[in-house]
């Protein structure tokens, strides 16, 4: 048992990691089960995408070479230090030979590392161009848009060049086993899109569209984070890629293209009151629900610049098909095994919905969003508009009504 634990632990420690790191690891393995936490963002183990596999396979030999070089240098240092140390019985007046250099030796250790590096360089350049290859013709086209502090995904399902077929946020839903052709950009500052187990990262830069590929070998949920510092909630600008089977994905895509259910203005059900509240409150000036407030937020663009620096807020039309909210900081679907098993359709059945909705988190969010996530929601007059969702000072009854309405947005 201990041996297994040890070997497992040591495998996690890369060769390039310092010996001291190794030593610490050994000390630590003595009792901390925590070392064996699962690592959902691991870049080297349990990668699940061809690109991530490729990157791990590219870097592992380099780690090995670096490790060998380090061991040689450290060993050499130890050897020199032990062998040539001044000893107490040395003649203090005896001076070692004054060797000023050795041209051959020096040329040798100039060119030998250069040769090793040449090998690494060739592999690298090949890798660079492989990573930049164009995706295949039948790849799924998705635009990834970063903004403070959430990700929006827009799909071009009909391949007409416009990313206007499906708009969603937080969860990037993709079909497993099919290449996804991402076009990454930003609406405000620089972000970086990263799902480590599928591929490396690529910056989302305003005014630029960066191509990137993604492929999940099998269905599952893969998490990531924004990795370019983007302000207050950089740490909580999370990414979740949900890979579905092709059939599931097609059903999901069809569902996403439907409009939201409309409520009559005099509907007195809880959800109906929530719908009315949504339209009266500030909600409807930022969040688009297709078929409900298209005129207030045309094409999802917020009219009043002061309300939102990026001029967008997540499209809520199919809110309940997502598993997270608020920039994927919070779980909308409880993160339990049975709820996870329900996938993106967790809210379709009323029982599942009741069981799996993380109602407490949603309530807390509606009560006071800036307290739940670091944001700068209040505009600074003359300098900047709001960034993030402001506190709308909703009372408990209004929160209940809104949640009832939101649960209809499947």
């Amino acid at each position: 048992m201990l041996r297994r634990a040890l070997s497992q632990g040591l495998r996690r420690v890369r060769p390039a990691t310092s010996l001291a790191g190794l030593a610490t690891a050994a000390v630590v393995l003595a009792g901390c089960g925590d070392v064996f936490d699962r690592h959902p963002q691991n870049t080297l183990h349990n990668t699940r995408g061809p690109e991530a596999d490729f990157l791990a396979n590219l870097i592992n030999p380099v780690f090995a070479v670096a490790g060998v070089v380090f061991v040689l240098v450290l060993g050499g240092t130890l050897f020199v230090v032990l062998k040539f140390r001044a000893r107490d019985d040395d003649d203090a007046e005896e001076i070692p030979r004054q060797i000023h250099g050795n041209m051959r030796l020096e040329l040798g250790w100039t060119f030998l590392p250069a040769l090793i590096l040449l090998g690494v360089a060739i592999a690298t350049v090949v890798g660079v161009f492989r990573l930049a290859e164009k995706p295949s013709e039948d790849a799924l086209r998705v635009q990834v848009i970063g903004q403070q502090w959430w990700w929006e995904y827009r799909y071009d399902l009909d391949r007409d060049g416009a990313y206007d077929d499906v708009t969603t946020a937080n969860d990037l839903v993709i079909p497993a086993g099919r290449e996804v052709d991402l076009s990454i950009t930003s609406r405000d500052v620089i972000h970086s899109f990263w799902a480590p187990r599928l591929n490396g990262k690529r910056d989302a830069v305003p005014n630029r569209d960066h191509p990137w590929r993604l492929e999940a070998e099998r269905p599952g949920e893969y998490v990531g984070q924004c990795t370019e510092f983007c302000g207050l909630s950089h740490a909580e600008m999370r990414i979740k890629v949900i890979a579905l089977t092709t059939g599931q994905f097609d059903r999901w895509a069809d569902g996403q293209q439907e409009q939201a259910r409309a409520f009559a203005a005099d509907d007195t059900s809880l959800a109906g009151q929530g719908a009315a509240l949504f339209n009266q409150q500030l909600c409807s000036s930022c969040h688009l629900i297709e078929g409900v407030n298209d005129d207030k937020v045309p094409n999802g663009v917020i009219k009043d610049r002061n309300l939102q620096m990026s001029r967008r807020a997540p499209n809520l039309t199919h809110f309940m098909s997502r598993t997270t909210f608020a920039g994927a900081k919070f779980d909308l679907r409880k993160d339990t095994p049975e709820c996870r098993k329900l996938g993106v359709t967790w809210a379709d059945d009323p029982d599942d919905l009741t069981r799996c909705l993380d109602r407490a988190a949603l309530e807390a969010w509606l009560r006071n969003p800036p307290a739940e996530k670091a944001m700068a929601a209040d505009p600074v007059p003359g300098k900047t508009g709001g960034r993030g969702m402001p506190n709308l000072n909703l009372d408990e009854a209004q929160i209940d009504q809104l949640i009832a309405y939101l649960t209809t947005l499947k």
Binding site: D37, V62, E106, P113, V120
Partner: protein, 812 residues
């Protein structure tokens, strides 16, 4: 010649013939203090300035260290609540900015300021008042930057300050403005320092010290200064753009107006990557001094060490975009920068192996400095190797902006630069302060640092590979980040303990040294470079007599020669080789208030730009007054109390074997006697000796003395910022006339005079001229400007009493 009537007037002399006043604005009397705080704030002495750079850097090191501890405490456990996201962003931004600009860079400056003149056999740097200005403007910048904490909000965009996150829309507080102003000021310090030290290295070397005889530390410093010279303007330009964006509504980085944010990334990293070498090369230099001394062998492959440093300096300009592998710059650029980044590892690797080869076959003494040097060699190797793994650009898309990078650059900058610098502190402490730091505490200190450092930053490699991003104020439970983060936090506190130990060591060692009241030997480590020749602590005038250099490690070769079998043997006792520090009549520049005033005016302009433009007027007046004062103030303090006549021991011939004087002895007398003299590099020391040997060498025939003063004043302007040009003009106007008057004297070639770097020759020539005016000797200054190896002509006034100095105390 039409201009002949003005022969004896310089460009600043008044038509009436009146002399420029020593208090040009009537505000300040010239500072005269040679002790106490006044002597420190007005000093233009490179050693005091170096020490103050060190003190300021250590102060900011504590500030940055506290910020580091806050970061580690926040990240010790998941969902840390110690700092809010907003505060965390400020703390980590300030930690990075402080450690780079206010700690590692100025510690490098401290070493370079103190050591370069000593290692090349000079009395001071080329522009002493500019040097003082550099120090004060650095302090002003550091204080300005950190004052943002007091004004409500520190900068929060990261030390890299990427646009557009640094714009007013995304950072509406004033923090980033403080960052801009503060770093523009410290940039000014770096830039003036770079010009100063480059000129110093190129022009003020002792006779015989060709470039390829310079110590490796001075070489690495020279490369560093060239990097600064070209890198700092890029950062400053970028910061000006950002400043105009934020304060005056310009739109350089406004994406709504079509800006491409990659512009800032490129500008920042074109500065930012050479900056890495700016931080590490001086430490490489320090280690290249320590290892040979404690191996008792010369540095292995000196030319390779020098040229690898130069190669790093050059290649450092071609690798910046490796910070941008994920930024979308296109595969061709990525491939090019990836390859260039890989190959910059070659010269670095050469250095590591040459250090090992230096130790090979030596007799290693494991003193504290040596331990730190070996620490650098091994720890930097880890940082260098992880650097190669980032150079694999495709894989870097997984590594970049994760803790793996944090681990990497801390291994480079802490395990490399700081490790080397702390070793340097232990190594040169005796030279600077006249007492040694306790070696036992020092060794313990080393091991505690080594353990703490590896415990802090080693686990970050693992965290990065496990996918923990940088710059996050918190992380979640369940991602596997908990354990190593906790270890890392423990390590950080062990480092803090080591830092406390270091300061405690200073206190303890100082107290013990005072109690023992023992005079420290000039050369406690059996050193190899010239600074071992002067007493510890270094006297104000550095060298009693500027040594003539015949070979690399000249000082060591004065102590050791070879027997008939070619084996190294001692040929002279150290006490016979070192100087005693009792020179008199040495010319040193006078202290001045103006550098401080100039540096104080600039942050006021900065605050004015942020808060109220009227303040700029106030600051601007300071600046203009200070520039005026600096310009009009003669380098020589003519109004200083007249020098005491040659009484007492000064007229006696100093015995070579006398033990080094105590710091309060002749050195202080020297200050009171000679502080009104101009800093002149070359012949003054020799003349001083001659004067001390022959009787009455200090007294000169009155007319010649007057002329000497006059020339000093003119020549002294070489040392004033911006006044190099008048000096050259003056030379062109007057030298031919002077040449006519002085048959024995020949000016440097005209082409050389037109080139500012050769102004030093002019200074020397003018000095020489003065003496020919006095003694009418037949010796030519043109010859002395290029001294032959091992020999320079004797000073005229001493020609009869002293033979050629170059033959004395030379082995071979």
């Amino acid at each position: 010649m039409a201009l002949t009537p003005t022969t004896n007037r310089g460009p600043l002399e008044l038509p009436s013939g009146a002399r420029p006043t020593a208090t040009p604005l009537g505000v300040f009397a010239r500072p005269r203090a040679s002790r106490g705080w006044r002597s420190w704030v007005t000093t233009v002495d490179h050693k005091k300035i170096g020490v103050m750079y060190g003190v300021a850097a250590m102060f900011f090191f504590i500030v940055g260290g506290v910020e580091a501890l806050l970061i580690r405490l926040q990240l010790a456990t998941p969902n840390g609540k110690l700092l809010s996201a907003d505060l965390y962003n400020q703390v980590y931004t300030m930690h990075g900015t402080t450690m780079v600009f206010l700690v590692v860079m100025p510690i490098g400056s401290a070493f370079m300021n103190y050591l370069i003149p000593l290692q090349i056999g000079a009395r001071d740097v080329a522009f002493p008042r500019l040097n003082a200005f550099g120090l004060w403007v650095f302090v002003a910048g550091g204080v300005m930057l950190n004052s943002s904490w007091l004004f409500g909000h520190a900068p929060d965009g990261g030390w890299f300050m990427y646009a557009p996150n640094s714009s007013i829309h995304f950072s509406p507080t004033n923090g980033i403005d403080f960052w801009n102003m503060g770093l523009i000021l410290t940039g000014l310090a770096s830039l003036t320092g770079a010009i100063n030290l480059i000129v110093t290295c190129l022009n003020l070397r002792a006779p015989g010290m060709s470039l390829m005889k310079m110590p490796v530390f001075t070489w690495m410093s020279l490369v560093t200064q060239f990097l600064l010279l070209f890198a700092i303007p890029v950062l400053t330009s970028a910061q000006f753009l950002l400043m105009f964006d934020r304060l005056f509504g310009a739109r350089f980085f406004d994406v709504d107006a079509g800006a491409d944010p990659l512009l800032w990334e490129h500008l920042f990293w074109i500065f930012g990557h050479p900056e890495v070498y700016i931080m590490i090369l001086p430490a490489f230099g320090v280690v290249s001094e320590i290892i040979p001394v404690f191996s008792r062998k010369p540095i292995f492959g000196y030319p390779f060490m020098v040229f690898s440093g130069i190669a790093i300096g050059f290649m450092g300009w071609g690798v910046w975009a490796h910070h941008m592998f994920a930024s979308g710059i296109g595969p061709l650029s990525v491939a090019a920068f990836s390859v260039s980044t890989m190959f910059i590892a070659v010269p670095t690797g050469v250095k590591i192996l040459n250090w090992l080869a230096t130790m090979w076959g030596g007799k290693l003494r494991f003193t504290t400095p040596m331990l730190f040097a070996i620490g650098l060699v091994t720890m930097f190797t880890i940082g260098g190797l992880s650097g190669v793994t980032h150079a694999v650009a495709p894989a870097d898309t997984q590594q970049t902006d994760t803790y793996y990078i944090v681990a990497h650059f801390h291994y480079v900058l802490f395990g490399g630069a700081l490790m080397g610098f702390i070793g340097g502190f232990y190594f040169w402490w005796p030279k600077v302060f006249g007492y040694q730091l306790n070696d036992r505490i020092g060794k313990l200190n080393f091991w505690v640092i080594l353990i703490g450092f590896n415990l802090t930053f080693g686990p970050m490699h693992i965290l990065g590979m496990q996918g923990m991003p940088r710059r996050i104020y918190t992380y979640r439970d369940g991602y596997g980040f908990n354990f190593w983060n906790f270890v890392s936090t423990i390590g950080a506190f062990i480092i803090a303990l080591a830092v406390v130990m270091f300061f405690a060591n200073i206190v303890v060692s100082r107290r013990r040294a005072r109690a023992a009241a023992k005079v420290l030997a000039a050369d406690p480590w059996d050193g190899r470079s010239l600074e071992g020749m002067v007493p510890s602590p270094t006297p104000e005038h550095n060298f009693d007599e500027v040594p003539v250099i015949t070979q690399f490690d000249d000082f060591w070769h004065r102590k050791y020669g070879e027997d008939d079998k070619g084996r190294p043997v001692r040929i002279a006792a150290t006490a016979d080789v070192v100087q005693t520090g009792d020179a008199t009549d040495v010319h040193l520049p006078s202290p001045s208030y103006w550098p401080l005033v100039l540096a104080a005016g600039l942050p006021i302009v900065g605050y004015g730009l942020i808060y109220n433009l009227w303040l700029c007027l106030v600051g601007g007046l300071f600046v203009i007054a200070a520039i005026y004062g600096l310009t009009m103030e003669p380098s020589v303090d003519d109004e200083a109390p007249p020098a005491a006549t040659t009484t007492g021991p000064r007229s006696a011939t100093p015995a070579r074997a006398t033990p080094p004087p105590s710091p309060s002895g002749p050195t202080r007398r020297l200050r009171s006697l000679d502080r009104h003299h101009l800093h002149l590099h070359q012949h003054s020391g020799r003349r001083a000796r001659a004067g001390a040997r022959g009787d009455g060498g200090g007294r000169r025939e009155p007319r010649a003395r007057h002329q000497h003063r006059h020339l000093q004043r003119e020549a002294g302007h070489v040392g004033v910022p911006g006044l190099g040009v008048p000096a050259v003009r003056w030379a062109h106007l007057h030298l031919p006339a002077l040449q006519g008057e002085q048959p024995g004297w020949r000016p440097a070639p005209a082409g050389a005079l037109r080139h500012p770097l050769h102004l030093h020759q002019l200074v020397r020539a003018a000095d020489e001229l003065a003496h020919h005016g006095a003694g009418g000797g037949g010796h030519r200054a043109g010859d002395s400007a290029k001294p032959g190896p091992g020999c320079s002509p004797p000073p005229p006034s001493a020609a009869s009493s002293s033979p050629a100095r170059c033959t004395s105390s030379r082995p071979s």
